[in-house]
């Protein structure tokens, strides 16, 4: 069993969660000012690091809240979880 700590509910089975991809991607303030390449970069391009990754999770079968996690993609160790709107650790 892979346990993920929800910021509200504490440690729960991975099965209760759904993955939301890379965190902290900000929508461009003025999309009209972007080139097609810049817009495509915002829409489609994501980091795929070997090591620390900041990502979003949803506690889908629990409290249904979105939150952020700092996870090591090699070891799967979740080094931190924090609520939406909170500073990246």
């Amino acid at each position: 069993m892979f346990l993920i700590p929800c910021p509200w509910c504490g440690e729960r089975d991975e099965e209760e969660f759904s993955y939301g991809g890379e965190a902290h991607i900000e929508r461009p303030k003025d999309p009209d000012a972007l080139s097609d390449a810049e817009w495509a970069d915002y829409l489609f391009m994501r980091k795929n690091p070997k090591g620390t990754h900041f990502e979003r999770w949803n506690h889908a079968h629990g409290c249904r809240r979105w939150f952020n996690a700092k996870r090591d993609t090699v070891t799967h160790v979740i080094e931190a979880v924090y609520k939406m709107g909170e500073e990246k650790p």
Binding site: W8, R12, D13, E15, H61, G62, R64
Partner: protein
């Protein structure tokens, strides 16, 4: 011709009342359907004193703010579903009045109150092996050191979404009505090795 307006439990066709009392006296688990309670969904900011205060005045007790806990009394309970979401459970027929009272008290507060009475039924699970049966299909740590009377949690049980509330005497399993028959059959199967007894509410 008008349809029969009476409510029907999603387990009505299983003949549970006829089967009640047929299990062994030493059955390890006791299953009871507890249908027809009214359920109210409540959304709002639990940290906002205007919201929490207005709700407390109507309910007569404070909403649970601590995650996965329950407040209230036997005939009116509030279950924590999320930091801005609760389920209020009252006896059959009591929802309309309470929804009106909450709506009135929350007129000027950002909130939502809605009737979800028919979305779920409740299966009560008790007996010496109740926790062992749940452990077969649920990843929650239900050991008394982390989960006891007054605790609630949403998770999956045998892959079905579930809301579990532990009372002093039983686990109350809130299950969406389209999954109720499946879960009942699963519980009878999972409990077979301990002996299953069915009782009436």
């Amino acid at each position: 011709m008008a349809h029969n307006p009476l409510r029907q439990s999603p387990l009505a066709h299983l003949g549970l009342i006829a089967r009640a009392g047929q299990g062994a006296d030493d059955a390890g688990i006791i299953l009871t359907e507890a249908p027809f309670t009214d359920h109210i969904g409540l959304r709002g900011d639990g940290a906002d004193t205007a919201f929490a205060g207005a709700v407390e005045k109507v309910l007569g007790f404070a909403l649970p703010i601590s995650p996965n806990t329950v407040t209230g009394k036997a005939k009116k309970t509030a279950l924590w579903l999320g930091p801005d979401e609760w389920l209020i459970v009252v006896p059959f027929g009591a929802a309309d009045k309470l929804i009106a009272a909450l709506g009135k008290a929350l007129t000027d507060v950002h909130s939502a109150v809605f009737d979800v009475s028919d979305s779920r039924t409740v299966i009560s699970l008790s007996g010496a092996n109740a926790r062992h049966v749940l452990a077969k299909g649920c990843g929650l740590d239900l050991h008394p050191r982390t989960f006891g009377p007054g605790s609630c949690a949403q998770s999956t049980l045998a892959l079905a979404h579930i809301l579990i509330h532990q009372t002093d005497t039983a686990y109350r399993l809130y299950i969406h009505r389209s999954f109720a028959e499946y879960l009942w059959a699963w519980l009878e199967d999972a409990g077979a090795e301990f002996g299953v007894s069915i009782s009436t509410p």
